[in-house]
Every structure is written in structure tokens, then in C-alpha cells.
């Protein structure tokens, strides 16, 4: 069964593109570093964010009820969906009941998770993703490859070619300003024609019943300022207690994601427009199960900033698609096995456990430790090939007995230098594909120590 290693190997094989992808995302990581450096209490802020999330998740039912009460009081309708199917049905029903066939959407990883777009399109609703990166991948019939930078895997020439075919831009034109302008005009028409706007929710404030949506383009605002019906989809974990706590996250989010001090627009919705409707769809889809799992509970704190992806040396060199899950990278490697451990069993092994992700996570999720914990779980469920398990068992057995270990190691050290190179570096030697084996010393440390201390 193919998984991350095979997809990653294909990505790496295009050496120029892999390095370009790596450099692009490293540059975003450096911007994060620079932004963090402008905040003197950055580490304290991360700690505060982590604790706020732990506190909130620890009382999530209460905060959700408080949020619902206040949201309803402000005139919003609040719907609950246990899973993706219920979520999709609710969104569709809201549109169908009003005869709405044209929907504009701003970024929502939750709706990607629920595969909302194909569901709606199969039922006659035209869905336009309005975030520029998302529109690009939508026109290419691809999923986003990064939760914040959906088209980071594409070069401007590829986008130029796409727009030439879809939007009528000049052939061969690839200037980002020119292409963005074309997208602006194209999307403006969609906004004007839409019957409803759907947004995600970055934060939901329990004390006010308000929802907060952060964008740089203003597409969430355009999509809710023009059509009168606003559907906002949120996972249960998006709650924060009050505006006071919200401040901590608003200071961390954009700096962690792109290195900006704040997104261009941070919009606070409290109830509908006077002439409109606001529907908030609150979704579980496995989140309460994750909350109940002590080992992986903390990763529910994720605010979807993408910093872990930008810093991950593996993500940068394998690309979002190699993870095969709506959310890729380190956080994806923790969330995906929770949804389907069999399908995503290679993801926790697609990490060198370097820990950089944990150090950039604004809510201090111990990502690399959760990734390691998944490895134990995957082995416990016997999802690792039998021969790998057996080899580890054998190795562990040998290592328990000093004599066996020394004998085995001595054999390896003695045999390797005398075997023909073609045998040593046969195709079974995965290490040896691009690396020499270490030189095999004649004597072990123990032997050196003994002779130094006068023992044979």
C-alpha cells in the first residue's frame, strides 16, 4: 500500500521543484521568526494560549452552550452536526430551502474535511472558492496543498497557464499582479451574483456569541456583505471564553502563519445583517472523540496557522499532497490517524522527530511527541509489516544480552569490509542507495578501553 514514503520520493525526484518548494516555505518560516521577534512576550503569549485552550477544551460543553445562547440572542441560528454528512446536509438544506444555487466560500478547512464542495455541486449548487489560492486549486480540480497557502506548490507560470484557459488572461503571462487582477475581476462577478456566502470560523467567542473570521484578501467580508445569507461553519474546538482571551490568539495567528502582525481583516460577526441571516453550523466530526483521548487531546488546540508545516523539513521536501489528508504536515500526521489509522499509518513515520514544529506551534502542542505516540499505537494495532516488527523484536532481544550484542556487532564489523561491494550495496541496502556505510572499525570501544586499561 503506498503512503507518504512513495509520494515523497516522487516529489523529491523533481530536485529543482523540491528545492524551490523547500525554499518558498522556509522563507515563510523566516518571516514568522521576524514577526515573533517584534513581540517581547512571545513565549509567554504561547504559554498563555496553550493554557487558555486547555482550560476551554476542559469546559467545552459549558462554553458551547454559552456561545449558543449568546449567538441566538443576537439573532443567529445555531445548528449542530455530529459528523461530515450531517454538516453537508445542513448547509445544503439552508441553501435549498431558499432556492439558492450560487455560493461563494472563503477558506474553511472544516468544509474541506467534510468534502462539502462536491456534495453541493452534485446537488446543483455552484460553489466558488474565493480565496485566491483556493480558487486556483479549485479551477485545477485539486485540493489545497497547504492549509494557509493552498497553491504554494504551483509556479506562477502554471497559474498563468491555468488563468489563460479559465479566465482568458494573456497566453504566457505570469506576473502575479496581472494574474491577481484578473482573479479580482472574475471573483467580483461571482460575489455580486451569489445568493449566499459561506465562511469558516477562526474563533468563536462564548461570552459574546460572536464569531471571528480572519482574511488578508477580504473575501470573507465581500462574501458576507453582498449576499444576505451567511453560513459559518465551525468545529467545536474553535471556542475561546471572552474577548480578553481572543486578544492572545489574534496576536499569535497571523504572525505564526505568514509573519504579518495581523491579517488585513479581522471581522467580528454578532448575529445577522439587519436585512440578512446568519447560520452557524457547529461540527463534531471526531473532535469529541479526540478530546476524550488523553494522548492526543492537546492537538485539538490547533488554530490552523500552518506554522508547523512551514518549519517541517519533511513537509517542505515532500509537499502537502504526499500526506493524503486535508490537513497535512505535522498537525496532519497527528489528526489523520485519529480519523483513519489504517489509511494514514505511514504519516507518523514521515517525521524525523526533529521537534521544530513543537517549537513554533503558537499553542504549544507537543506535536513531535504526539507523532511518536501514534507510532506506538500503530504498532500496537499491528499495522506495521510483520517483518519490521519481527526485526525490532530480534534486535531488542540481542541487545538485552551483552555477549550476543557484541558478537553480532563484531560479525558485522568484520564481514562488511570483506564482502564484495556489490553484495553490501545491493538493492536491499536502502541506507546504501545514496550513502556509504560507516567505516567498520576493527575494535569496539570496549576493546579499546580494555587494552588502554591493561586488560586483554
Amino acid at each position: 500500500m503506498s503512503g507518504h514514503p512513495e509520494a515523497a520520493a516522487r516529489f523529491v525526484a523533481d530536485d529543482a521543484k523540491a528545492h524551490w518548494h523547500d525554499q518558498s516555505l522556509w522563507w515563510v518560516r523566516k518571516k514568522r521568526d521576524a514577526a515573533a521577534a517584534t513581540v517581547p512576550d512571545w513565549e509567554a503569549l504561547r504559554s498563555a494560549a496553550a493554557r487558555i485552550k486547555e482550560h476551554t477544551l476542559g469546559r467545552l460543553a459549558d462554553y458551547l452552550e454559552e456561545f449558543e445562547k449568546n449567538a441566538v440572542r443576537s439573532g443567529a441560528k445555531v445548528w449542530f452536526a455530529s459528523d461530515a454528512a450531517e454538516h453537508n446536509a445542513i448547509v445544503h438544506r439552508i441553501l435549498a430551502e431558499r432556492g439558492i444555487t450560487r455560493l461563494v466560500k472563503s477558506k474553511s478547512m472544516l468544509t474541506e474535511e467534510c468534502h462539502l464542495n462536491p456534495y453541493l455541486e452534485a446537488r446543483g449548487i455552484t460553489v466558488t472558492d474565493t480565496d485566491l489560492g483556493e480558487r486556483i486549486v479549485q479551477l485545477r480540480h485539486e485540493p489545497p496543498s497547504h492549509i494557509v497557502l493552498p497553491a504554494i506548490h504551483l509556479k506562477k507560470e502554471e497559474i498563468g497557464e491555468l488563468f489563460h484557459g479559465e479566465l482568458g488572461t494573456d497566453k504566457g503571462a505570469s506576473d502575479p499582479k496581472y494574474l491577481t487582477e484578473a482573479a479580482r475581476q472574475h471573483l467580483r462577478r461571482r460575489f455580486l451574483e451569489a445568493g449566499a456566502g459561506l465562511t469558516g470560523v477562526n474563533f468563536a467567542v462564548a461570552a459574546t456569541g460572536g464569531i471571528v473570521v480572519c482574511t488578508n484578501e477580504g473575501n470573507a467580508d465581500m462574501g458576507t456583505a453582498l449576499p444576505p445569507v451567511h453560513i459559518a461553519c465551525m468545529g467545536v474546538e474553535k471556542l475561546v471564553p471572552r474577548l480578553e482571551e481572543l486578544a492572545v490568539f489574534v496576536r499569535l495567528l497571523a504572525r505564526s502563519a505568514t509573519g504579518q502582525p495581523v491579517t488585513t481583516y479581522t471581522t467580528h460577526f454578532h448575529g445577522p445583517r439587519p436585512d440578512g441571516e446568519l447560520h452557524i453550523v457547529v461540527v463534531d466530526n471526531g473532535r469529541s472523540a479526540q478530546l476524550a483521548n488523553d494522548t492526543f487531546r492537546r492537538s485539538l488546540s490547533c488554530i490552523r496557522c500552518g506554522a508547523c508545516m512551514n518549519t517541517c523539513p519533511v513537509f517542505r521536501r515532500s509537499g502537502g499532497y504526499s500526506y493524503g489528508f486535508v490537513v497535512p504536515g505535522p498537525i496532519g500526521s497527528v489528526l489523520a490517524p485519529g480519523r483513519d489509522v489504517g489509511a494514514h499509518r505511514t504519516l507518523p513515520f514521515a517525521s524525523s522527530l526533529c521537534g521544530s514544529c513543537s517549537d513554533v506551534c503558537p499553542v504549544r502542542i507537543d506535536l513531535h511527541h504526539e507523532i511518536l505516540a501514534w507510532r506506538q499505537e500503530i504498532v500496537r494495532r499491528k499495522l506495521v509489516p510483520v517483518w519490521k516488527r519481527a526485526a525490532m523484536r530480534l534486535l531488542a532481544f540481542i541487545l538485552r544480552f551483552a555477549f550476543l550484542y557484541r558478537l553480532g556487532a563484531w560479525l558485522v564489523r568484520r564481514m562488511t569490509p570483506i564482502l564484495p561491494r556489490a553484495i553490501v550495496y545491493s538493492r536491499w541496502n536502502v541506507w546504501g542507495r545514496q550513502r556509504e556505510l560507516p567505516p567498520m572499525p576493527r575494535r569496539s570501544f570496549r576493546a579499546l578501553y580494555r587494552s588502554r586499561h591493561g586488560r586483554a
Partner: protein, 203 residues
């Protein structure tokens, strides 16, 4: 609704008591809040223009090319700019398409990130801050706060309602990380900062 009960029940089963941490209260971070605001706004592609009073703001506005060349204008700030249409007569925000300039009042400005809070209750239509080609925001210099902690502390005292923090013009870097200003919303954002800075605003 069964889903509601099931979800709340499942969340309750996983409840755990963790105390809220002490949070930063915000306050004296920047020696010169006005300068920090100007720098932060410039770093996100906006422009800050300090003026002595409303009349000076009006004069400054008149010098801006985006205003001089504008055909369709809405100003919600008395004395600063002149609307070319009667906003009260606009019933459908779609009619605002093609708006060249909107002049809007801001409640406060945040030095650390160049953001201006627009209170939704002043907007006859929400589209007014996102549909125009160019945005001009008018804020009292006395209403500059240091950071978002201060900003939200002040907002918590105001009636709850629709509002938006705007930091500079609309932008995107979705094509090869190349920054492009004017993605979907305003192509420019000018902040007219009115009056003297005065004392630090009390929280």
C-alpha cells in the same frame, strides 16, 4: 436536536478542570505609539497621515490622487470628504459596486499592527469597507492603543455588535509568495490620524 445533545454529552464526558492563566493586560509598550502605528501600517502597505483637526483631514484628503480622481464617493465622516451619492438611499449593497472611495470613521487604532477598529453600527452597509477601490479611515490620535490586549479591553466596554479590524489594504501572496496589494478589497488604505496624541487612553 439529537446531534446537539450527543455532542454536548460527549464533550461533557471529557471535561477537565484547568484554570485560566493570568493574561497580559497590555499597556505601555511603545514609547511613541503614533510612530509605531505609522511604521506598522506602512509595513502592511497602508499610509498614515497625521493631521491637526477635521478641517486639516479634509484638506489632506483633497490632495490624495485616489480622491481627486474618484467619481463615486461615500463619506461617513462629517467634514471630511463629500459623498457623491446619498448613502441613505442605497437599499442594496450591490449598488455600491464601482465605489471608488469610502471615508469611514475608526474607533481606535492599534500601534503594534496598524489595525483600525470600524464599529459596524456606523456602517449602513458592511460592504462599504470592502467593496470600494480605496479606503480612507479617520481616527482620533488620542485613540491609539498599544496592542490588541488594550484594544479588546476597550471593545469589551462597548455594546456587542458587528465590527472589523482593518490593517492596511487588501492583499494576497498566493502566487509564488509574491505580495500583491489590492486582492479583493481596497487597493489602498490611508489612515488620517486627527489631532494631538494626548494622554494614554485609560483602560
Amino acid at each position: 436536536m439529537a446531534a446537539r445533545e450527543n455532542i454536548l454529552e460527549a464533550l461533557r464526558r471529557a471535561a477537565r478542570a484547568v484554570a485560566l492563566p493570568d493574561l497580559p493586560k497590555g499597556g505601555a509598550r511603545f514609547a511613541d505609539r503614533r510612530r509605531q502605528l505609522g511604521e506598522a501600517l506602512a509595513s502592511v502597505g497602508g499610509t498614515c497621515v497625521p493631521v491637526a483637526d477635521r478641517a486639516a483631514a479634509d484638506r489632506a484628503l483633497a490632495t490624495l490622487a485616489i480622491y481627486r480622481e474618484a467619481k463615486k464617493i461615500v463619506s461617513l465622516v462629517p467634514g471630511v470628504g463629500a459623498s457623491s451619492l446619498e448613502i441613505g438611499a442605497v437599499s442594496d449593497p450591490h449598488e455600491l459596486e464601482g465605489l471608488d472611495v469610502a471615508v469611514l470613521p475608526g474607533t481606535l487604532a492599534v500601534a503594534e499592527n496598524g489595525a483600525v477598529w470600524i464599529d459596524g453600527s456606523v456602517l449602513p452597509h458592511r460592504a462599504l469597507f470592502v467593496i470600494p477601490e480605496h479606503l480612507v479611515l479617520v481616527v482620533d490620535a488620542a485613540a491609539i492603543v498599544d496592542d490588541m490586549h488594550e484594544a479588546y479591553a476597550r471593545l469589551a466596554e462597548l455594546p456587542v455588535g458587528y465590527g472589523v479590524f482593518i490593517s492596511g489594504p487588501s492583499k494576497t501572496a498566493d502566487i509564488e509568495q509574491a505580495l500583491v496589494i489590492g486582492a479583493q478589497g481596497a487597493r489602498s488604505c490611508t489612515l488620517l490620524l486627527v489631532g494631538p496624541m494626548g494622554e494614554r487612553p485609560a483602560i
